[in-house]
């Protein structure tokens, strides 16, 4: 059909961020989605131009701005807006020489080695990334020496890598990385990963409340939540979900904080309830989370996914209460 032919010609096998699309990428579905989404993007861009003229430093995030951010920050403004709404820009202004000083300091060999191991395996399929490896090394090595409690944690390579793709700026990537690791999800990447283990337990409790049969099924099949979701939380979905979806998620994360991370994880479970319950052994379940879930609608229609995640009821007070209960758990 014409549609199929034109969609393969219009969309190359590399996306706008330089990532190779998978062999089974659904071009037809994507074409359909994009024909509407592109128009929306253009409209949105004009609105954002107006916003930035009125409120250049984005100091207060009122409900209107929040709504706009949830609809997606236009690509060209993204780096700048992230820096402002997260507060990273302010921190950078306060310590303008920090990053350069870190780069000039002495590096520990052990840290360098562990980063170097992960460089070639960070986004090997991204066509721009070959030239970015050295800059990614700089960001990670600077951060590891800046925050000794974290050092280098596997997974940060994917976060920093994606930040670098979006900002195309080492220093901004450093500050945004610092914001994620220290303010959004503190103590996830430290040596004992205490808060990661706690929040995985919190997440399980939330599934038990919202979809007890799903939790029971997963428990019966014997797949721990740590296997399913560690990477989701450690990487804030980078290298887990498709890039466009991750960037839309990060828009909200920078504006609204850690609650969004739970929203996404909950949405992934709740929108796949039937599929999860349909798995009749542990291998099928693992495969659902590893491969099947990352194809289909989530890939082609990030917009609906974001909408779905905001339909889920979730209160900060519930999260905080569960966090108190789950401190110290490490067997989720």
């Amino acid at each position: 059909m014409d549609l199929a032919a034109s969609s393969t010609s219009r969309f190359s096998d590399v996306d706008e961020y330089g990532f190779k699309r998978s062999d089974n990428f659904d071009y037809r579905n994507y074409e359909q989605f994009m024909s509407g989404y592109l128009k929306t993007l253009t409209k949105r861009r004009m609105k954002w131009e107006a916003i930035l003229q009125r409120n250049a430093d984005l100091t207060t995030i009122d409900s209107k701005l929040k709504r706009y951010i949830r609809k997606g920050i236009p690509g060209p403004f993204r780096a700048d807006v992230w820096m402002k709404i997260s507060g990273a820009a302010k921190l950078q202004q306060r310590s303008p020489t920090l990053y350069r000083n870190l780069l000039g300091a002495h590096y520990e060999k052990e840290i360098c080695d562990s980063i170097t191991i992960d460089l070639p395996r960070t986004f090997p399929d991204n066509i721009h990334f070959d030239t970015k490896k050295e800059r990614l090394f700089n960001i990670l090595v600077a951060y590891a020496h800046h925050n000794r409690e974290v050092g280098y944690c596997q997974g940060l390579n994917y976060i920093a890598g994606l930040l670098l793709i979006v900002t195309d700026d080492e220093e901004k990537s450093f500050w945004l990385l610092k914001h994620i690791v220290e303010s959004i999800v503190p103590q996830y990447h430290t040596k004992n990963m205490a808060n990661l283990l706690r929040d995985l337990a919190v997440f399980k409790e939330m599934i038990m409340r919202r979809a007890p049969q799903v939790n029971r099924h997963i428990e019966n099949l014997g797949l721990p939540y740590t296997v399913i979701a560690s990477k989701w939380f450690i990487c804030i979905f980078a290298e887990v979900l498709p890039v466009e979806t991750v960037l839309r998620i990060w828009d909200c994360v920078f504006a609204e904080g850690y609650k969004i991370v739970f929203r996404v994880a909950l949405a992934l479970f709740l929108t796949h309830k039937t599929a999860i319950l349909g798995c009749d052994d542990i291998a099928a379940l693992a495969n659902l989370f590893r491969e099947k879930m990352m194809q289909g609608d989530i890939v082609t229609d990030c917009h609906s996914f974001i909408e779905a995640m905001f339909k889920i009821r979730l209160k900060r007070s519930e999260l905080e209460a569960l966090r108190k209960v789950c401190v110290g758990r490490n067997n989720t």
């Binding site: 004992n192 990963m193 099949l221 296997v227 990477k231």
Partner: protein, 221 residues
């Protein structure tokens, strides 16, 4: 995708494919965990064994990964539940969850990296202390295709393995050398009496007949 079906999950009703026609096969299921320092090739060994592939830039494992593969030895269908772990030291706190109840472990080191061999020895000690007493442990000296730049001698590792009652092979996930063989050697050493599939299975884990009878295209044909 054929590989999906093979690695479990979608294999469709298959009792009819029972090999050797006449004989009723035994089915065993074993939990196997891979341990070892980061970047020694754990995930690559699993990928080679389960999908027959090798990626030069294998993504790093965050947390852990789970895959299955089935092989046949004599009249027994052996299904491995494979738990591939993250190598970085800080992920260590998660490891006991994966080796708890495991009937087998492959401890991997990189023959070009002396530290990774020392780390492997530490894993073996931890397993002897903490894992089930009957666990079958194999030591894999991986990246054997690079043996011209090795720093860990074959004899040294072999002797260590013998002293500690481990199976030992040098492997290459890249060329495939000894990859199937090491899993096969483990399968041979595991007890395959009736009900072996139940030992040490995670709590709440049930095998229904349907699952038990699944066949895969990797074996017996």
């Amino acid at each position: 995708m054929a590989t999906t079906a093979r690695s479990g999950g979608n294999a469709s009703g298959s009792t009819a494919q029972r090999p050797n026609g006449t004989q009723q096969n035994k089915n065993c299921q074993f939990k196997l965990v891979l341990l070892g320092e980061s970047a020694v090739g754990k995930s690559s060994l699993v990928l080679r064994f389960v999908k027959g592939q090798f990626h030069e830039y294998q993504e790093s494992t965050i947390g852990a990964a789970f895959l299955t593969q089935t092989i046949c030895i004599e009249d027994t269908v052996v299904k491995f539940e494979i738990w591939d772990t993250a190598g970085q030291e800080r992920y260590h706190s998660l490891a006991p969850m994966y080796y708890r109840g495991a009937q087998a472990a492959i401890v991997v080191y990189d023959i070009q990296n002396q530290d990774s061999f020392q780390r492997a020895k530490t894993w073996v000690k931890e397993l002897h202390k903490q894992a089930s007493p009957n666990i079958v442990i194999a030591l894999a000296g991986n990246k054997a295709d690079l043996s011209n730049i090795r720093v860990v001698e074959y004899e040294e590792a072999k002797q260590y393995a013998e002293e500690n009652g481990l199976l030992f092979m040098e492997t290459s996930a890249k060329t495939g050398m000894n990859v199937n063989d090491i899993f096969l050697a483990i399968a041979k050493k595991l007890p395959k009496n009736d009900g072996a599939h139940n030992q040490g299975a995670p709590a709440g884990r049930r095998l229904n007949d349907n699952e038990n009878n699944r066949q895969t295209n990797n074996c017996c044909k």
